[in-house]
């Protein structure tokens, strides 16, 4: 008979729906409404995981998203598996499978548990220390460290789920639907403000909804009944959108927040299919109200981490909300009144509470009196010095605390128990507030950090603002809300509130034990196994800054980001260093508040939607003709066209020879095209290009080089003068957007007086470039009436023409060194023109070629590719392109920089050609070049930028940038590779047809 610790029917649990699930391979049952944690506790399962470093057995600690211990792998070995999920947040469904992490072979018998025994040898900074010394041991350590590193297993299959993003704009965003959030949202919406209320849980009402009926009264009824009525009302308010299972992950500047809405994680497999799993909400709110509540603090004492030791508030929530008790013999350990609420809650359900151990000397609040009169023994001024029970707590040892709280006295008393609820007071959840840039102040009375300076239009209300009692919450909320929302009254201005819990608290960050600190294990960060001892060690070793101590000890660096223990770490540091809290800084809370899945972050941008891509009008033809593609900027460009299983090398060799021997055709549609018009267009080109433009005749084309203001080559391309005040500029494919941006920048900011208008027309035209000795004949077949004679249509000129009814612009320009024409047509005729060229070229074996062949052909001619042969440090002079830099022009972009002492140095890297001594060896692009072998340190002269085997020259050719390269013509250099050294000779970068005879052939 399985254990059943469900003691009471709960209105939040639907016991008519029984759900079976597996944990570590064993089948258990729970009910609809259970979390994995509550269902496990109902089955008396506390041991759910092993800690990260010492592999100590760990149990469920909390009932919320702050859980450090109960993190599990769900649905392992399926395509929906997810690691590091908090069992306290997983809503169970039929078929759920969960398993413990960080243990092998099982959570009950974990080999890594040996780390606990050898823990004296694993002090803070253990890993850092092994990294450092002795260095030669690192390779040995690494094997073991790698195997024990990391929590959980990432999925290996494709995620089957759909994720989505949604933008939301609202007047008021309320984060957290506890009592403060509900009242704030209701009053905002009722005042005609478009309001969004989000909560990470699936139920509204926070802790109020299951609060003790006798001790908290609102409007003369129990606070839980009252809040249920409020929630009912909330559902009928227009202007108000409510999202549950929605966790705000990040709060950025200008009230921009990111939240994860969970839509299907609680559904069983068949209901998840084809639905959006999670949605990332991108919320821009005019005003933000943070009602994120407070997290209960643990107490830091020796062996405070055993399964069965839980937050007192969690014990209460499991009992009141889920109807589950966490133990049969319960003890509470506290420094304030809130544990008494939990004790009473158990007592009233008939569950035995053995004792309350209170480090305070006394408390006179009514709730304490009620516990006393229930016959529960209270040990005042006592602390717990040790606990026992390896896989489940079985007893605690208490001793009297000295007056100063630094030591213990008297006899040790053991109390046997299987559940210990610990209550160390409350920490306002200020994570989102600080993420937004808010500054905190330390409240000495309550030992809490509170919001102080708001960086944007926002307000923190309720316990995240330090109001822990319902009375304070409601009266402060009413006043603050009126001011913040600029409204005259709220509907709870005169609400009567009664609460029996007092604020008194005795705060001791680290509780003493009868054993020396070095012999104790008081855990501060449960997930990362950082103890108070580690923190003290870090301080002894000289660490002072909080951020350094945090990294050295890994405190607060787990998946829970230290939600429970960070305050204690700060307190222990302050006490040990003898400074005030906050004086050494507080740790920074970084997004996300709770972990996000990658799916949620990327949303729909997966697979083919990962990035947008652009296709030319000829793309379908290229796919049909088996082209391989490469990405250039966002374009898909045909790279080469293999036939009959050719390799890239074979295809490129064939294409390159065909283009020079007869005819080739290239899709040049992707080149950037900018239409430039206006009466100052010529003057504008004069200022942006290095060469002169005023005298370019109408109908003529010219190559231009554009520099940055620092004198380095930025882009290049051919620009055509279409008419007096009308030019068509082409840019590199990848540089188009940047060129347009730069030209607009100068026009708008430096030269607003120029009458020039720029329009990007890249997508408006498709371009087929035909080249080779037969290109003229092919064009003549397509447009027989066009005069192609040298006199009428010479190299570097342009003609308007018509192919049937299709208007086209034909430029006679060449990037291959061959006689060639670029035919530009309106984009939707692109494919038609391409097919016409192919048809007309058939008899000349016209060969489509891709970008790889284009690169090879231009390299034979020594033409540069900006971005391949240049890298933002090359001037035109470095490129041996002095001929294109006008000496006569007074100014152009970058001119002055060409005369800076540095750019004029003769030993700059300069573009040269390289020939290998063995013409069959093709150099690797990026290979380093040296002049001396066996030199130390090696003097690296430069590197290879472009390298090919030229089928037309029957040898390997390369372009390279080499220090003082211009002076090295004919010099022998070396290229040392891993397995050999390649001998090369520096040559002029023009390898082929240096007289340009073929252009006019």
């Amino acid at each position: 008979m399985p254990a059943n610790l469900r003691v009471q029917s709960s209105e939040f649990i639907d016991e008519t729906v029984r759900i079976s699930f597996k944990f570590n391979g064993k089948t258990y049952h729970g009910f609809k409404g259970d979390t994995l944690a509550s269902a496990l506790l109902a089955n008396d399962v506390h041991l759910v995981g092993r800690s990260f470093k010492y592999h100590r057995p760990r149990g469920i600690m909390t009932a919320g998203s702050e859980e450090p211990n109960a993190i599990v792998q769900v649905n392992d070995k399926t395509n929906r598996t997810e690691p590091n999920v908090r069992a306290t947040e997983v809503e169970i469904y039929e078929g759920l499978e969960a398993s413990s992490q960080n243990c092998w072979p099982s959570v009950n018998f974990d080999i890594g548990g040996i780390n606990n025994a050898i823990s004296p040898f694993l002090p803070a900074g253990f890993y850092y220390k092994t990294f450092m010394w002795p260095a030669s041991f690192w390779e040995k350590y690494e094997y073991f460290i790698r195997h024990s590193a990391g929590l959980g297993k990432s999925p290996t299959e494709k995620d089957p789920d759909i994720y989505d993003h949604r933008n939301i704009h609202c007047d008021v965003l309320v984060v957290g639907a506890g009592i403060s959030g509900i009242l704030a949202a209701k009053n905002a919406a009722k005042n005609n403000l478009k309001t969004l209320l989000v909560d990470e849980k699936n139920e509204l009402g926070g802790a109020t909804i299951y609060q003790n009926r006798e001790f908290n009264k609102i409007d003369n009824q129990s606070s839980s009944d009252w809040i249920k009525k409020e929630i009912q009302e909330l559902r009928n308010i227009k202007n108000l959108e409510i999202k549950t299972r929605t966790s705000v992950a990040a709060y950025h500047g200008y009230n921009y927040l990111l939240a994860r809405e969970n839509l299907t994680d609680h559904l069983e497999k068949k209901d998840k299919q084809d639905k959006i799993r999670q949605r990332l909400l991108k919320i821009r709110a005019k005003k933000v109200i943070l009602a994120t509540g407070a997290l209960e603090r643990p107490l830091i004492f020796n062996n405070n981490d055993r399964p069965g030791i839980m937050l007192s508030s969690a014990v209460k929530k499991y009992a009141d909300f889920y109807g589950v008790v966490s133990g049969k013999k319960n003890v509470f350990f506290t420094n304030n009144d809130s544990a008494y609420e939990s004790a009473l809650c158990l007592h009233n359900k008939g569950i035995k509470v053995e004792a309350v151990i209170d480090i305070r000397e006394k408390s006179n609040s009514n709730i304490v009196k009620a516990v006393e009169s229930a016959g529960i023994r209270i040990h005042w001024s006592h602390t717990i010095v040790d606990t026992k029970g390896y896989k489940r707590l079985n007893s605690i040892s208490t001793m009297k605390l000295s007056n100063d709280g630094l030591s213990v006295t008297g006899n040790k008393t053991d109390i046997s128990c299987d559940c210990l609820g610990i209550a160390g007071g409350w920490t306002p959840a200020v994570h989102l507030f600080t993420q937004s840039g808010g500054k905190l102040t330390f409240d000495e009375n309550n030992k809490v950090f509170l919001p102080n300076k708001y960086p944007s239009d926002q307000l923190s209300v309720g316990s995240c603002n330090g109001d822990f009692k319902i009375k304070e919450i409601i009266s402060n909320l009413s006043n603050n809300l009126k001011q913040f929302l600029k409204i005259e009254k709220t509907d709870f201005d005169n609400l009567s509130v009664e609460s029996e819990v007092e604020n008194s608290k005795r705060n001791i960050w680290l509780l003493p034990s009868d054993r020396a600190i070095g012999k104790t294990k008081p855990f501060v960060d449960y997930q990362n196994d950082a103890t108070a001892k580690d923190i003290k060690l870090a301080l002894r070793e000289g660490f002072r800054s909080i951020e350094h101590v945090k990294r050295y000890t890994t405190t607060g660096m787990g998946t829970d980001q230290g939600k429970l223990g960070n305050m204690h770490a700060l307190g222990i540091i302050a006490d040990t260093a003898g400074v005030k809290m906050g004086e050494l800084g507080t740790t920074t809370f970084r997004p996300p508040y709770t972990p996000l899945t990658f799916g949620t972050i990327v949303g729909r941008n997966v697979g083919e939607y990962f990035d947008t891509f652009r296709r030319t009008p000829m793309n379908d033809w290229q796919i049909k003709n088996k082209a391989e593609f490469e990405n250039v900027g966002q374009w898909k460009r045909a790279w080469y066209y293999p036939i009959n299983g050719e390799s890239i090398h074979e295809a490129v060799q064939r294409e390159s020879m065909a283009a020079r021997e007869s005819a080739g055709i290239l899709d040049a549609s992707t080149l950037g095209k900018i239409d430039i018009q206006g009466s100052d267009a010529s003057e504008f080109l004069n200022r942006v290009y290095t060469n002169a433009w005023s005298k370019l005749g109408i109908g003529k084309c010219r190559y231009g080089l554009m520099l940055n203001e620092d004198g380095m080559v930025f882009d290049d391309g051919v620009t055509t003068r279409l008419s007096e005040n009308h030019y068509l500029m082409t840019t590199t494919t990848g540089g188009a957007a940047n060129v347009l941006g730069k030209l607009e920048d100068y026009l708008q900011t430096e030269w607003p007086e120029l009458d020039v208008y720029l329009t990007s027309v890249t997508d408006h035209y498709a371009t087929a470039s035909i080249c080779g000795p037969n290109s003229k004949k092919i064009l003549n077949k397509i447009i027989p009436d066009l005069d192609l004679s040298e006199e009428s249509f010479p190299h570097m000129s342009f003609k308007n023409a018509q192919i049937g009814k299709i208007k086209c612009r034909i430029m006679r320009i060449s990037f291959t060194g061959e006689h060639s024409y670029e035919i530009n047509v309106q984009a939707n005729y692109g494919l038609d023109i391409w097919e016409k060229c192919m048809e007309a070229g058939k008899e000349f074996n016209i060969t489509p070629y891709g970008t790889e062949t284009m690169h090879l052909l231009r390299a034979e001619k020594g033409f540069i590719i900006v971005g391949q042969d240049t890298d933002g440090t090359m001037t035109p002079i470095d490129l041996q392109m002095d001929w294109i830099v006008s000496k006569k022009k007074y100014d152009f972009i970058g001119k002055r920089s060409l005369y800076r002492s540095d750019t004029m140095k003769e030993d700059r890297k300069q573009l040269v050609g390289l020939l290998t001594d063995d013409p069959s060896i093709v150099l690797e692009e990026g290979a380093q070049i040296v002049s001396e072998l066996n030199q130390s340190p090696v003097n690296m002269l430069g590197h290879v930028t472009s390298s090919y085997y030229s089928p037309n020259l029957k040898k390997s050719i390369a372009l390279a940038v080499v220090r003082s390269g211009k002076k090295m013509m004919g010099k022998k250099l070396f290229i040392p590779m891993e397995d050999k050294t390649i001998n090369v000779t520096v040559v002029n970068p023009v390898f082929f047809d240096s007289e340009n005879k073929r252009l006019n052939a």
């Binding site: 821009r284 900011t749 800076r900």
Partner: protein, 91 residues
Amino acid sequence: MFVINCPYCGERDQQEFKAGGEAHIERPKQPTELSDDEWAEYLFMRKNIKGVQFERWNHAHGCRKWFNMVRDTSNDEIKLIYKMGERPPSE
């Protein structure tokens, strides 16, 4: 992620904009008259202030207009936005 009030389009999300560095650095009218140091001052030297800074911004995914912004770089507070060509406020 801030909201920027484009002087031509109104309030838009920061992702529509491109930052363009420090504002009011005018390109010298006669660069050839400048010494290397003076030219380097124009070319390379930027204040990069922690605090109130004058900046250029471009509504790149909108009207594509450039404009000026006074921004506190320590908290991203935008104090003022004004058109290109307008003089900066005195303080």
